[in-house]
């Protein structure tokens, strides 16, 4: 049996992504499967515990969706490559607990970025405080707690380049399996769109720009196809190595 399920490929759009994620966990996961996501239209994807913000936002404007995993708001659009991966709960890549689930995916994404020339690394938990200070430039507790936006803070095994976040992770664990979701920045997002949609101060857009980076900012002429291929290779290798 091939270790990666048949439901692998590239999908389009935030709504389709959330629907795929829900369907993937609607019944027991028998084998790892994953899908990459591209977004032709911008949209805001809130973490599950931010659902109240969706009700508070004005009706008109960018589409707002709520995902079934935690974390801060994500501004998806043509500047991002998304990734969904589902695994059985007993799979060696995720059976070690919540952080173990993040570790393999963060490392796989960092390896893919390295393969296309972006100097990236997945950040271990014991280095988080240092990195948070580095990206925020502030030495205060508040600097590491402003996590309303995914790319405004760092969590264990998320991916950075030059100390700035380039890929964010989130997770959903339930009896049918484990879903891991990731977003890799291809280009610098228009952060002001996110701030305006959620009623945040425009100064937050500058902070998000300073805390994050993208493939295009790290390496000119990065192609989506190159990153997609590198990600597929890294995912296959991670799954096959775990089962070896």
């Amino acid at each position: 049996m091939h270790p990666v399920g048949a439901a692998s490929g590239v999908g389009v759009g935030a709504a389709a992504e959330q629907a795929w994620n829900a369907a993937a966990l609607a019944c027991p996961v028998r084998a790892p499967a994953w899908r990459l996501w591209v977004y032709r239209e911008p949209a805001v994807v809130l973490g599950c515990s931010q659902r109240a913000q969706a009700a508070l936002a004005p009706a008109a404007g960018l589409e707002i969706l709520v995902r079934d995993s935690g974390g801060g708001a994500v501004l998806v659009g043509p500047w991002m490559l998304g990734l969904s991966a589902v695994l059985p709960g007993a799979h060696p890549l995720v059976a070690g607990g919540t952080l173990a689930g993040y570790r393999w995916l963060g490392v796989a994404i960092a390896l893919a970025l390295l393969r296309i020339g972006v100097s990236a690394e997945a950040v271990e938990k014991n280095r988080l405080a240092l990195c948070d200070l580095a990206v925020s430039g502030e030495h205060s507790v508040a600097a590491v707690r402003r996590d309303w936006a995914c790319f405004g803070s760092l969590s264990p095994w998320e991916v950075v380049a030059r100390g700035r976040k380039i890929a964010g992770l989130a997770q959903r664990r339930q009896r049918h399996g484990v879903l891991l979701a990731a977003g890799v920045l291809l280009q610098a997002p228009p952060w002001v769109l996110l701030c305006e949609r959620l009623g945040m101060a425009r100064s937050e857009a500058l902070r998000l720009a300073q805390a994050s980076t993208s493939c295009a900012e790290e390496l000119p002429d990065v192609e989506l196809a190159s990153l997609s291929s590198a990600l597929k290779r890294s995912l296959h290798e991670a799954v096959e190595t775990a089962l070896a």
């Binding site: 599950c48 079934d68 070690g96 607990g97 919540t98 952080l99 173990a100 938990k125």
Partner: protein
């Protein structure tokens, strides 16, 4: 005969390797005090380090007390809900 009480905590696996001092969020309760639940029923959801996990009833019984409110935070080992069977 008195009821058997059962305290429900988030399994230790969810906290494995998590930085000491980290707290989790009680995202949502799907039951109310007084409700009857079945073993394995999903009765709530929590968020730990951006991961959403279900809280399942370990036995058939009645929800005696929700000890962490929705949107409240809790620490490893803290009792989330007390069931009586």
């Amino acid at each position: 005969m008195s009821d058997v009480m059962r305290d429900v905590v988030l399994p230790a696996e969810a906290w494995r390797d998590v930085e000491p001092g980290t707290e989790a969020l009680l995202d949502k309760w799907l039951v109310r005090e007084g409700d009857f639940v079945k073993a394995g029923q999903v009765i709530g959801a929590v968020v730990v380090v951006k991961a959403r996990l279900d809280v399942e009833a370990p036995l058939d019984g009645r929800v005696d007390k929700l000890l962490v409110p929705a949107d409240g935070t809790f620490k490893p080992g803290q009792v989330l809900v007390r069931l009586s069977a």
